[in-house]
Symmetry: C2
Subunit: 122 residues, 2 copies
């Protein structure tokens, strides 16, 4: 094990070797997206200074922006009290985090009175 990766042992990886990751825009605090990392993804994220996730559907590392150009520059990496959730504070290249082309993935809002989800609510 590399000396530099000792800090990775602090993370409480789940039964699949993954940790949930929240990506938050550093300048506005907007929550942009949610994804997963394995140990290698988190290590590469720190090495590159850009977010690298684990794609559960494609079962491989996913350097966010590698196809879209919408890279996420790392500003700050946080770990929660139980050490089992990571919060990334990032600078979002292109200001678009969502694969739908939107700023944030959280564009559906519950209208609880009507019992429905509203897309692209402000």
């Amino acid at each position: 094990m590399k000396k530099s990766s000792k800090w990775l042992n602090k993370v409480q990886w789940d039964a699949n070797g993954l940790v949930p990751v929240i990506a938050q825009q550093a300048s506005t605090n907007d929550v942009l997206m949610f994804a997963w990392m394995n140990r290698e993804a988190l290590e590469k994220t720190v090495e590159l200074g850009e977010a690298v996730y684990w794609s559960r559907s494609r079962k491989k590392l996913w350097h966010k922006g590698e196809e879209s150009g919408h890279f996420q520059k790392i500003i700050d990496i946080r770990l929660d009290c139980d050490a089992d959730v990571v919060l990334l504070k990032i600078e979002q290249v292109g200001d678009i985090a969502c694969h739908t082309g939107r700023h944030s993935c959280f564009f559906q809002q519950l209208n609880s009175a009507e019992g429905e989800w509203i897309a692209d609510a402000q």
Copy 2:
């Protein structure tokens, strides 16, 4: 099924019937904590107007604040593009979300140069 709970079918529950939930302070956009909900927890959250999670360790519903008084008043409920992550915008009673007594659970910060996590970083 109650008419009012149709919107719950939109959520893509995981193999354990759960969905990851991010709790964000509405007034500051601070990310305060991360937890899980099952269908009943999300339904009760809307009914009460306060966050109700599913405790995976205790295997029961957990009305946040029931012991500490640190309830989370619901301001907005968002669903992500894949409908498998919920974002709650809340008003945090007491301004304390973490069971350690801190404002936010994300108080550990990576110092990547030193390869260590710093508690209570600003």
